[in-house]
């Protein structure tokens, strides 16, 4: 079953407006040098979005190469422990390359190829987006350079090797905090320098317009499949959708087709790091205030003077001081709510899922899993614990082995 209701789903969201704004958030805060490139990209995107041959080609790869649709798995043993009998996991970890990132990487790579570009550049944090772009580049015969912070290269080493094996150049970023934020700066600088034949594949629903929209659209296949799968299995729509939030692409991919269905609760789980009290977290939506980073106005962790804060999360993919502008709008309009899980809670959730269901989740996804405890308590007190919860299992955990070993490793699981 491959779903091709993209058009219908897109119409469900009234945002962004013509200037790339989601309410007060979004926009295009970039150097003038990039403006023509963004306009070219927007036009190409609008064109190919309605181009049947393009859509058919994308659909073909999603089905036969990526392996879509991904299963919606009822996690009965985990659900039993949590007191959530109708808990479903959307298995984005089963995509080719091991995460939801492939949906967007493939969409943008195909778009770039149709635009006549010869080279892809990308930023990456956990390495999942970098691997996905390197893969799409190999598949479509494009050159590829991935920018990655030094700090992330050491904590996600297997993904560095994967990208190199896929014949991508991995360029270490030494500036700033040496993580995703700085990799994004460096990728943007590279794009400014070599615009003409290069497409910059942004990996999340962040950046200047049209990126937040384009990435959301490519990821919304997640929510579209969930919608059909829940209807088939449960005869209705889910009550709760849960996903982790770094930039917010897997969450928006799940939420987007349900934004207009007001009875569906949308819950985004940010990285609580070592707790929200200090500054050792990455909870932009809960502890930030509106500001401009990487071309968009959105919630941002920053100091009084508007300098971007250094943040912390055990998960490289969530270790980002900003967040996609549409999430800021969903928060401001109270359509979605945003909560957090700490490093420790995420680790515990990792081991719980591994032990109960035989699935090693990415540490990013483990944050979403960790929030199932408080959610179950809340649902119970509201007498709703029998309702359908869908959690987006955005990626698999193989890449996190070294981090897990540093944090108690195998011994911990048997505690």
């Amino acid at each position: 079953m491959v779903l091709s209701k993209e058009k219908k789903a897109l119409d469900l969201s009234p945002f962004p407006d013509g200037s790339g704004y989601y309410g007060m958030f979004g926009g295009r805060f970039v150097p003038e040098t990039l403006m023509p490139a963004l306009e070219e990209l927007e036009q190409a995107y609008m064109h190919f979005q309605n181009d049947q041959a393009f859509q058919a080609e994308l659909q073909f790869y999603l089905e036969h190469y990526v392996g879509r649709p991904t299963p919606l798995y009822q996690a009965a043993r985990l659900g039993e422990v949590l007191g959530l009998p109708r808990l479903y996991l959307k298995r984005e970890d089963l995509n080719h390359t091991g995460s939801h990132k492939m949906n967007n990487a493939l969409g943008q790579a195909l778009l770039a190829k149709h635009m006549g570009k010869q080279r892809l550049i990308a930023e990456t944090g956990a390495g999942q987006h970098g691997v996905a772009v390197a893969t799409a580049a190999a598949l479509l015969g494009l050159a590829c350079t991935v920018f990655m912070g030094e700090e992330d290269m050491s904590r996600q080493e297997p993904n560095v090797l994967r990208m190199q094996l896929l014949q991508a150049e991995v360029r270490p970023v030494h500036s700033g905090s040496k993580t995703l934020k700085d990799a994004t700066n460096e990728a943007l600088r590279e794009w400014i320098a070599v615009l003409e034949h290069t497409h910059y594949v942004i990996g999340s629903v962040v950046g200047p317009h049209p990126y937040p929209r384009m990435v959301r659209d490519f990821q919304s296949i997640i929510g579209q499949e969930v919608s059909a799968q829940v209807r088939e299995r449960e005869g209705g729509i889910p009550s709760y959708l849960v996903a982790c939030i770094g930039g917010g692409s897997n969450a928006l991919g799940l939420f987007a087709p349900f934004v207009q269905e007001k009875e569906v609760q949308l819950i985004g789980v940010e990285a609580g790091g070592r707790g929200l009290e200090g500054n050792q977290h990455a909870a932009s939506l809960q502890r930030g205030r509106p500001g401009v980073l990487h071309g968009a106005l959105s919630y941002l962790l920053q100091d009084q003077e508007g300098q971007v804060a250094s943040v912390h999360s055990i998960s490289a993919g969530l270790d980002y001081p900003g967040v996609g502008p549409e999430h800021s709008h969903l928060k401001m309009s109270k359509r979605a709510r945003y909560v957090s899980a700490t490093d420790t809670e995420a680790l515990e959730a990792f081991h719980l899922l591994a032990g109960k269901e035989g699935i090693l989740p990415a540490l990013e996804s483990a944050h979403a899993l960790a929030y199932l405890h408080p959610l179950a308590a809340e649902m119970k007190s509201a007498g709703r614990q029998g309702e359908v919860v869908v959690l987006n299992l955005s990626g698999r955990g193989d890449k996190d082995l070294s981090v897990l070993m540093q944090h108690g490793g195998v011994g911990r699981a048997s505690e």
Binding site: S19, G27, R28, F29, V30, P31, E32, T33, M35, P36, A37, S175, G176, K181, D182, N185, L188, R189, I192, A193, L195, G291, V292, L293, H294, G295, L297, L300, Q302, Q304, E305, G306, Q307, V308
Partner: protein, 277 residues
């Protein structure tokens, strides 16, 4: 400065007056960029003064920012040094206040948008204008995003500088140029700021577009690293902006900062001579 208004409703501004004077004498403008607070606040004040002594017409003072995505490594490092010294917006204002005690040269601040946005754009424009800033160069605030803030800036006589690049198409250029005031920052090469060996030929094309649309002066920036490049660029422009080459000099002499003012003065003098010869 007199607070009278010209026909466009913009208050008289040191930038406009300076360009008027330069034009009268058939001279080219030399704008100098230095990062505020680099290598330290007091030395950076000395370097700004030295630049004026060396013959700079316009000072462009950088406000340090954590994520300067339009800047190459040289200015990124300067920004980091200034931030390591805890340089604040108040410190940048201090530099302008001190300069204003002795100098009437136009001063513009180069700041990314977020520090201004957090300060409150209107308050920032007013406060900066009050202490003697004439214009703002905001590299991540293109025409469209600048539009909502123009009225507040114009109300207090603060000029928001616009950019032109080799990739700006003619249609877009006309839209930008209709609004432009002070000077137009002409990016000579695609890419971020930095020292380069080759000046792109596209400058000639950009200049032609600008000349057809506006009388606002054009300054070439990004990649003017030597006096000979400055001479080349001035054929098509009203002057040049020199930044990374000077900031590199600061980086090269961090251990001997007492000698820096003299070095910067001499280097600026070299550019001045090239423009005057």
């Amino acid at each position: 400065m007199p607070a009278s208004k010209n026909e466009r409703g913009i208050m008289h501004n040191r930038l406009e007056e300076r360009f008027y004077q330069l034009q009268l004498h058939g001279a080219k403008a030399l704008a100098v960029f230095l990062m505020g607070g680099d290598p330290d606040l007091e030395t950076s004040l000395k370097l700004l003064r030295a630049s004026l002594e060396g013959g700079a017409d316009i000072l462009e003072i950088g406000v340090p920012f954590s994520d300067p995505l339009a800047d190459g490594p040289v200015i990124q490092k300067a920004s980091q040094r200034a931030r390591a010294n805890q340089t604040t917006i108040e410190d940048i204002f201090y530099l302008v206040r001190e300069l204003r005690k002795e100098h009437d040269a136009p001063v513009v601040l180069l700041s990314y948008w977020n520090p201004i946005y957090q300060y409150g754009p209107e308050q920032f424009f007013q406060q900066a204008k009050k202490i003697g800033v004439d214009g703002l160069v905001i590299p991540d605030l293109p025409y469209e995003e600048k539009r909502p803030f123009r009225p507040a800036a114009e109300a207090c006589g603060m000029i928001l500088i616009d950019f032109m690049t080799p990739l700006t198409g003619e249609e877009r250029a006309h839209k930008i140029l209709q609004q432009a005031a002070g000077f137009i920052y002409c990016v000579t090469v695609s890419g971020v700021t930095g020292v380069r060996d080759q000046l792109a030929e596209t400058l000639e094309k950009s200049a032609a577009i600008v000349r057809n649309a506006t009388r606002v002066p054009l300054l070439a920036g990004f990649g003017i690293s030597s006096p000979s490049q400055a001479r080349q660029a001035m054929q098509w422009t009203e002057g040049v902006i020199v930044g990374s080459a000077l900031v590199q000099e600061v980086e090269n002499h961090l251990e001997k900062r007492e000698a820096l003012p003299e070095r910067i003065r001499e280097q600026v003098r070299g550019f001045r001579r090239a423009l005057d010869s």
